[in-house]
Symmetry: C2
Subunit: 305 residues, 2 copies
């Protein structure tokens, strides 16, 4: 009889669930489209039926269920805070409600943190206890793993690495700041910079990547600029944490060869810790599965408060 | 019979030792001038005799001895690394040597980390388990306390907060970077900025403070610039950690009223976490005693690896 847990990754338009053994083997998984904007009842029903589906063929109860969600988590109360895009969830006791409906302990986690935990458990961070993961997408998400667990901060808001300033007078950000990392090093930033470089108005990051790969000098410059900004932020993280591993995830990471040289040069200049210690900056390994693995790992952790 | 430990704070020109109870009461303390540049034998003899002096009148053996030193610590090996100003110490097994000589377990710690721990134990951080301390002196030292213990990183180099970039093209730093926090917000930075502002070539930070207090506009600008740089760095730390408390120590903090408004305005703009969460940025409480208390606290901690 397998000792297993269930991980749930709740995205904006997609919900995935998997039954995973303590060794990280996926026993069963399911993916359903959902729309968090349709409200709490619908989303929770979808979640409950996805969980029922993945545990239907198991002969025992899961150790617990971990749920990764796009919002901040008040770990003590088991509540999602700052979930602007999830109507009905704000200040609703999701954890206790799900636990009652499913008859199993529930652990909530922020999706970026869950992805970092997933990489630590089954991905590129398997060999270490301390790492930082940056997910470069529409924005830049961050997750910090210290001693094998998520660093939460006192309101579950730690790891907002996309809003660290890299250019003091840089692009304005919706958060109220200027020059946030995510305005200079995300898929959206690549598109905006391509636009500013006169490459076109509606270019996708993928398109800019293709142009750069074909040798377009301005498109290459976009990725170099992204690399420099990433390097500035990573140098700070390395000086702050002295962790052995920093991982980059998200679609834009396919452009690694275009931005990594500028990124590594910037880190080299801005962090003597990097120069004297064996610090790795690498691609993450699990892609979209990172959050699912991380969610499934949560019930196996000792203190997941 | 009191349960006590001994803390030692080894500075560049001064060595202090104190016997301290588990409740933080100082039973005995001594301060001797020493010069780490005179070499290991001399310094270690001074340290041993200071320890003997503070434990002479105690009727039991101390739980352990904590030693704060100006260098990086390889916690596993009990060795000081990167101790450029301490001839003879590099790669010498200080911990084991002292432990043999003194007959008590020894715990080494970096001095900035020890100060942060001291503030957590008996100072301004008594009410929290997570805090960041910045010590503004010749440079800027940093210490990070997470779950009541020092965050070390894998080579004991975490907390190099003085070398976080705050001005990408700012003043050059001996570490190889430009625009390090410590080049823009330390006693030395205040003096250099005063010089650049034409206030005089050999002004001490204290003198610049006096000028600013008397209403000198350029001297006031120096402290505002320092406040802005501090705010940029603190906003990043708040976004990264979401800790409840950030402390500032060091002589320049006397100029709080001159730099704090610019600092807090910058944090307010650059960190939405700060705006939505009850985050305190305050003066540290223990002054020069922070490192001594922190060193004494080390033997009482559970895992001081």
């Amino acid at each position: 009889v397998a000792d297993y847990s269930i991980g749930v990754d709740l995205g904006g338009t997609n919900l995935r669930a998997a039954a995973v053994t303590r060794e990280g083997k996926i026993l069963e998984q399911v993916s359903v489209s959902t729309d968090v904007k349709l409200g709490r009842e619908k989303v929770i029903n979808d979640l409950v039926s996805a969980v029922d589906q993945v545990r239907r063929d198991q002969h025992t109860r899961p150790t617990g269920i971990g749920v990764g969600v796009p919002g901040f988590i008040d770990m003590d109360r088991g509540v999602i805070t700052g979930a602007a895009n999830m109507p009905g969830f704000e200040d609703f006791s999701v954890r206790d409600d799900l636990s009652t409906r499913l008859g199993v302990p529930i652990v909530l986690e922020n999706d970026a943190n869950a992805a970092a935990l997933g990489e630590k458990w089954m991905g590129a961070g398997r060999g270490v206890d301390d790492l930082v993961l940056l997910t470069l997408g529409t924005g830049v998400g961050g997750g910090i793993i210290h001693r094998g667990e998520v660093l939460h901060g006192f309101l579950g808001m730690a790891g907002e690495l996309g809003h660290v300033t890299v250019v003091p007078n840089g692009y304005p950000c919706g958060c109220g700041n200027r020059g946030c990392l995510e305005k200079h090093a995300s898929a959206t930033a690549v598109e905006s910079m391509a636009n500013l470089m006169g490459l076109g108005e509606d270019l996708s990051a993928k398109h800019v990547f293709d142009l750069a790969s074909q040798g377009n000098a301005r498109a290459r410059q976009v990725f170099e600029s992204m690399g420099t900004s990433l390097g500035t932020a990573l140098a700070a993280f390395i000086n702050i944490f002295n962790f052995p591993l920093y991982l980059l995830a998200g679609g834009v990471v396919e452009a690694w060869n275009l931005f990594a040289p500028a990124m590594l040069a910037e880190i080299e200049q801005r962090s003597f810790t990097y120069r004297v210690s064996k610090t790795s900056v690498e691609k993450a390994a699990l892609g979209k599965d990172a959050g699912l693995y991380g969610a499934a790992y949560l019930p196996f952790l000792k203190h997941t408060r």
